[in-house]
């Protein structure tokens, strides 16, 4: 009985560990798994491990793959966790930071900040997510307004509003990119979801935002469960619904905006992962939010392996891989939703 309770966590953590090791090992230069494990452990304090690996491995792993791996994992955490939170908020399993346009809004904010040359130094880099965050908040407010019908948020209006707002934000983003002459290529790569900034700086810059936003979200599982019964029942069960929604919108937008600011727009992770997590481990958001966050990290680490190896030596942006996987999945959910429209 005790073990059963921890089973979801054991499986999810195991999957993350495996995805992380594979991500570090696979690439243009393959590093044996056991050596990856020893090289990572060697970096931990209190462990004495003899450095019997080639210097090239050290350079590749410590300076390229590990920072990329950690940023990819953090981005996946943010997308999975915020996706689950948005689904809880909209009471709609098709809500995802990308589908409802928040990612594009965050992208617009972040690109605007970059065009104004905010990230010229370390402090500037930490400011990009703030701009993305503002863009995300404005987007979520607009989409929510547009898609609410009375006291509910129907799936059709939600997606229509998301598409419209997203297209608008993307168009403005393209305009800014076209008008700014320098670094156009890098920005475009970034837009479709490439981890091209490199090094540990983006990891450090995103960490405080993610700790804060995901930290808040994982504590809100129980009230979000209450919210699944509708605003009125939730109020009658003693929940301060307006305050809860505000906190969730702000936290989930911050998480999504941080992911977008450092990793570009990566679609469908926040849709696919919470859905699979729900199928595997049940619908309660107490477990769903943290498990979807961890699952998001695994999913993105695996997608990143594909992105780097499919057309090797060329690297695909990871957003291309998640879209190729995620878009058909989205359509499948939509087809199923048609049958259960009444339930929404």
């Amino acid at each position: 009985m005790k073990l059963r309770r921890y089973l979801p966590w054991i499986w999810t953590a195991g999957a993350l560990l495996a995805a992380g090791l594979a991500n570090a090992a696979i690439g243009a230069v393959a590093i044996p798994l056991d050596m990856v494990a020893r090289m990572v452990l060697a970096r931990l304090p209190l462990l004495e491990i003899e450095a019997n690996w080639p210097a090239t491995f050290a350079t590749i792993l410590y300076e390229i793959r590990l920072p990329n791996l950690v940023l990819t994992g953090l981005t996946g955490l943010a997308l999975g966790g915020s996706g689950a939170a948005f689904q809880a908020l909209f009471r709609n399993p098709l809500a995802d930071p990308y589908v409802i346009g928040i990612a594009s809004g965050a992208g617009l904010g972040a690109v605007l900040a970059m065009a104004l040359r905010w990230p010229a130094d370390g402090l500037g880099m930490a400011a990009v997510p703030v701009a993305g965050f503002l863009g995300a908040l404005i987007t979520v407010a607009v989409v929510y307004r547009l898609s609410s019908v009375g006291r509910t948020t129907p799936v059709t209006t939600l997606i229509l509003a998301g598409v419209a707002v997203s297209s608008f934000a993307t168009a403005l983003t393209s305009l800014i990119l076209l008008l700014s002459t320098s670094e156009l290529h890098r920005a475009v790569t970034w837009m479709v979801g490439g981890f091209s900034l490199g090094g540990w700086a983006p990891v450090l810059a995103s960490l405080p935002y993610l700790v804060l936003s995901l930290g808040v979200l994982v504590t809100l599982g129980r009230p979000l469960d209450v919210l699944q019964f509708g605003d009125e029942q939730a109020t009658q069960l003693g929940l301060d619904v307006d305050r809860l929604k505000l906190v969730v919108v702000v936290s989930a937008s911050l998480a999504a905006a941080t992911a977008v600011s450092f990793s570009g727009i990566i679609a469908f992770v926040g849709l696919v992962v919470p859905h699979l997590t729900r199928l595997l481990w049940g619908p309660s958001y107490r477990r769903l939010i943290p498990l979807a966050a961890l699952g998001g990290a695994s999913f993105l680490l695996l997608a990143d392996i594909l992105a780097r190896s499919l057309l090797s030596p060329r690297e695909l942006p990871v957003g291309v891989v998640t879209s190729v996987v995620g878009a058909p999945f989205f359509l499948y959910l939509l087809a199923r939703a048609k049958r259960n429209l009444r339930a929404w």
Partner: protein
């Protein structure tokens, strides 16, 4: 005790209830009846505190509902809504345990006391055997009993029920209302029940309030309120009332 004092409720541009007075004693089931659109559901929403009154007040055991926080309100009054659109993948236990929300806050988790009260509420509503079943697999009657269990777990002295027998067959209507009756008697709850079916009202309610034009037209024991004259005036059709040969309560028949 539930007291509605000079209560006016409505939505923008539409006043549904006007200066309405109503009082439900502890241990009493008071049924609110009236035609569609007369404001039965609005009355329940207002009495739960989910809808702010335009004027007047709702008091539970002397506490003015609209001066309390949502959590404080939920400790005073619980609501049993119609069982529809419940999250289908939640287990029955998941649903009932949310009745403890007003005692936990955002960050709290259930303790031993909460689990015991939830098990008790499920035992009383005969839902304990369903605990691990998914809500989507349950019948309408089972879902309705589950919502009553959730309301019981709230431990509030007042309980409001909005059409709890809608969509239920005869057997389950009977079972749900007998349960409500028994809980009221055993726990001394003050129960306000919005119900369409006048014959069920006659069987299970202590008193009936007949709503018309946003006010209580008549209130009293079922045989005093459910008369052909009153009902014909409110529902606008000819109505016959006979004495039920089995329990001596009024039996309402519509038609010419």
């Amino acid at each position: 005790m539930i007291e509605l004092k000079q209560l006016s409720v409505g939505y923008p541009g539409l006043t549904v209830l006007r200066e309405l007075d109503l009082r439900v004693e502890a241990g009493e089931v008071l049924a609110v009846v009236g035609p569609n659109g007369v404001g039965k559901s609005t009355l329940v929403r207002a009495a739960s505190g989910a809808l702010r009154p335009l004027a007047g007040s709702v008091e539970i055991d002397g506490l003015r509902l609209h001066e309390l926080t949502p959590a404080q309100r939920a400790r005073m009054v619980s609501v049993v809504p119609q069982a529809s659109n419940l999250p289908p993948a939640f287990t029955a236990l998941d649903v009932v345990i949310l009745g403890r929300t007003p005692y936990l806050g955002w960050l709290g988790t259930e303790g031993e006391l909460d689990h015991r009260l939830v098990a008790e509420a499920m035992a009383r509503t005969e839902t304990l055997g369903l605990a691990q079943r998914r809500v989507g697999e349950l019948s309408g009657g089972e879902q309705q009993r589950l919502l009553i269990a959730r309301a019981l777990a709230q431990g509030a002295p007042a309980m409001l029920l909005d059409e709890p027998t809608a969509h239920l067959d005869l057997r389950h209507q009977d079972r749900v209302l007998k349960l409500v009756r028994r809980l009221t008697n055993d726990q001394g709850l003050s129960v306000l029940l919005a119900l369409h079916d006048l014959n069920l009202v006659a069987r299970f309610a202590d008193r009936v309030a007949l709503l018309s034009d946003g006010q209580v037209r008549k209130i009293g024991r079922p045989q005093e309120v459910l008369t052909p004259e009153e009902l014909a005036a409110v529902y606008g059709i000819q109505i016959h009332v006979m004495t039920n040969p089995f329990d001596g309560k009024p039996l309402v028949l519509a038609g010419d």
